[in-house]
């Protein structure tokens, strides 16, 4: 670990110079969510537990897909202990603001009402156990995204709390994200001026690929960008951005190397097939550059840094890239390594903090 990394911040800061756009937390025990539920749903949680469509069952690199060193000294699971997260992540790396993305199964439950109750419980747990005690953290509006109305209700319930910075979905939805069943959720997000963040993972019932289930975790992990691509195509082609001109989408942990070629391909195909999608009034790439933000982890690593620079030129979205670590997962991106030093200083500053500050309207934590 570098000297910079081990230095613990002591001076108080007034500006935000590093934002982590993707931090994962979990309770020591899922049954803990029962404390934030009605008696009925607490009993349901204890009796049946969560039941999703499954289909993401690969033995992953590590338990919880976590870094081996991310277990708190008290032996609880990675990302379950605020003090240890403060120490290992926020203090060690001088992170000014960290965005929590609790991926805890609320979306994509087969029992949608249970999914909504679980989402509510997770949000209350987030407030009580993370956001209230730690001013550097921001949270997500967790929703049962497979029911647009239920998701909208939860967004209306908590969406005005300034500490919640986006609505959180997993990328593997049951239907492509542009379809109308999801529109009430987008309408609510826009009404509360919240972006919609879509994170790696989930399980909507379809195989992860357009050609069935692969055999190995490496395919699941390396293949997730194909689902991100499908969702970008869907959101654009369904005219979602014509219907919701203020909708902002954050792609989290999906990479971005694939996005330039997707824009070229979509623009070319749209040129020939536009008759089919009369709702669109602009080139697909124009909607993409206007409505999408992207977190950097896992950082694209072409063999030469000049290729990364070329990729950033092709992407032409320097004001949309936001640094993220994906703590405590095994493929953590370290703030001092992930963004190559030779990129221009203003671009690095934009990626490390400014783009996220602008999108989320972040203010420095008050001590």
């Amino acid at each position: 670990m570098t000297e910079a990394a081990t230095r613990v911040a002591v001076e108080s800061r007034t500006a935000i110079s590093l934002v982590d756009g993707d931090i994962h937390i979990q309770p020591a025990n899922r049954l803990d969510f029962g404390r934030y539920m009605t008696a009925h749903w607490r009993r349901h949680l204890e009796t049946f537990g969560g039941r999703g469509p499954g289909g993401a069952s690969y033995p992953r690199a590590n338990k919880y897909a976590a870094r081996s060193d991310s277990y708190p000294p008290n032996g609880k699971p990675p990302g379950s202990d605020l003090d240890f997260l403060r120490h290992q992540l926020l203090d060690t790396w001088n992170i000014d603001i960290g965005v929590l993305n609790p991926l805890l199964g609320a979306g994509g439950q087969r029992n949608l009402e249970f999914g909504a109750a679980l989402a509510t419980a997770i949000n209350e747990w987030q407030f009580a156990e993370w956001l209230d005690p730690e001013p550097r953290l921001r949270g997500s509006v967790v929703v049962e995204y497979e029911d647009g109305e239920l998701a909208a209700e939860e967004i209306h319930r908590v969406g005005d709390d300034p500490r919640l910075v986006h609505v959180l979905l997993s990328i593997r939805t049951a239907e492509p994200m542009g379809r109308r069943k999801y529109w009430p959720m987008y309408e609510a997000a826009v009404a509360h001026d919240l972006p919609v963040g879509v994170h790696f993972g989930g399980s909507g019932g379809s195989p992860i690929t357009g050609t069935g289930f692969p055999s190995f975790y490496i395919e699941d992990h390396a293949g997730m960008p194909t689902v991100f691509q499908s969702q970008v195509i869907s959101l654009v082609c369904e005219g979602v951005f014509e219907r919701f001109p203020d909708l902002k989408i954050v792609l989290i942990e999906g990479g971005f190397g694939w996005l330039p070629s997707l824009m070229w391909r979509l623009d070319e195909a749209y040129g020939r097939l536009r008759e089919e999608v009369p709702a669109l009034r602009r080139l697909p790439s124009e909607y993409i550059r206007e409505h999408f933000w992207i977190t950097t982890q896992p950082m694209e690593e072409p063999p030469r840094v000049t290729q990364l620079e070329r990729l950033l030129d092709q992407l032409n979205m320097n004001d949309r890239l936001m640094f993220a670590t994906d703590y405590p997962h095994w493929d953590f991106d370290a703030p001092d390594h992930a963004i190559p030093g030779r990129l221009p200083a203003d671009l690095k500053a934009a990626i490390r903090a400014e783009n996220a500050v602008r999108l989320y309207g972040l203010r420095p934590a008050e001590a």
Binding site: A61, I171, R172, T173, A174, E175, P176, G178, R179, G204, G205, S206, T209, G210, T211, G212, F213, P214, S215, F216, I218, E219, H221, A222, G223, P225, T226, V227, Q229, S230, I233, S234, C237, E238, G255, G257, W258, P260, S261, L262, W264, R265, L266, D267, E268, A269, Y270, R272, L273, E276, V277, P298, E300, E301, P302, P303, R310, Q314, W330, D331
Partner: protein
């Protein structure tokens, strides 16, 4: 010039009757079976037939004469590889799918390969039934004018899966390439998030299925098991390839324990065993940009010229060769890469 993606299409099921047994002819007549109904190309979609050929008589791709007159002669094509996308994989009855495949192949021999010496063809197989597909490969491979086995890129399982080994084993044994081609109708949704609404989405999204198949073939160790296997990715684009290779090379560093048989960086397998046709081009808007993308692929000689006749990629025959292709690579792309890859 070698055109690596030319579409010949079965005009109607009765055109295959001379190549089907009495049993199957009767079966088709009695059941009013019209052949595979699924098509990756809606008949009147603008992409399915370019303006250059729309309304042409005879209908584009329906006879050897049509292709010679509409493509080979005007463009000066020396060799054309026929890819007949007849969606036999969408026929769930395995025996029917196998019978249809064999009939299509015999029809290709009689009405295409024998009609013009410039044609080469792809073996149509019942790809959902690997053992039966392997038998059809055995049968067709006797005619050396078949240069590859054609697999629709959409399948019920990723092709690296052991289930499909018999197909690759047979292809390798007979020295045939395997062409993964746009389309297919296996019944499962074409995205990891279910069925999209529009053909535009399916068309643009086909690139993701190619990506998935490449990840599968590498991760399953297909190229160690079949070291002489050659895979052509046809009509799926290639400008997405650099980012896929960067990603899988990076993942392999972290997760190679998962797939210990993958002994080299994944991109090496792609460089060695795979090639990509040039249409659709999906090029960056800036004219010099395509050279950068080709450079990012990380190896020379990866591209094979194709018109994708009669699908719509250009409006004038003079534009069949994309102007954006770097001059330095032209001879390879237009001819030499294909000659080496297919052993023509």
């Amino acid at each position: 010039m070698i055109d690596c993606d030319v579409h010949n299409s079965v005009p109607s099921l009765p055109a295959l009757y001379p190549y089907l047994s009495e049993h199957w002819v009767e079966y088709c007549r009695q059941s009013a079976f019209g052949g595979p109904a699924d098509s990756a190309y809606p008949a009147h979609a603008p992409t399915s037939v370019g303006p250059l050929w729309r309304g042409a008589k005879p209908a584009p791709g329906t006879s050897a004469g049509a292709v010679v007159e509409q493509l080979l002669d005007p463009l000066g094509v020396e060799l054309a590889i026929l890819n007949c996308v007849y969606a036999v994989e969408s026929i769930h009855n395995p025996d029917t799918a196998a019978a249809m495949s064999a009939a299509v192949n015999d029809w290709q021999i009689a009405e295409w390969l024998d009609a013009d010496h410039r044609f080469r063809a792809s073996v149509v197989v019942p790809s959902a039934q690997p053992e039966m597909a392997a038998r059809e490969i055995e049968r067709a491979a006797a005619d050396r004018r078949f240069v590859q086995v054609l697999l629709p890129v959409r399948s019920a399982m990723p092709y690296g899966n052991r289930h499909y080994h018999p197909i690759f084993e047979a292809a390798e044994r007979h020295g045939l390439a395997v062409g993964l081609h746009f389309g297919g109708a296996p019944g499962n949704p074409p995205t990891g998030a279910g069925w999209p609404s529009y053909y535009l989405e399916e068309y643009a999204g086909m690139a993701q299925i190619f990506q998935t198949q490449i990840l599968s073939m590498i991760s399953e160790g297909l190229f160690d098991r079949f070291p002489d296997l050659r895979i052509a990715c046809i009509e799926g684009g290639f400008t997405w390839l650099p980012s896929l290779l960067w990603r899988i090379d990076k993942e392999w560093k972290g997760l190679r324990r998962d797939v210990p048989w993958v002994r080299e960086e994944p991109s090496h397998y792609v460089h060695k065993h795979m090639r990509f046709t040039t249409r659709p081009l999906d090029a960056p808007p800036d004219p010099g940009g395509l050279a950068d993308v080709i450079d990012d692929i990380g190896a020379e000689g990866m591209l094979l010229f194709a018109t994708d006749y009669p699908h719509w990629h250009f409006d004038r025959i003079e534009d069949a060769i994309p102007a954006a292709l770097p001059e330095r690579l032209r001879a390879g792309i237009l001819r030499d890469n294909a000659r080496v890859f297919y052993g023509l």
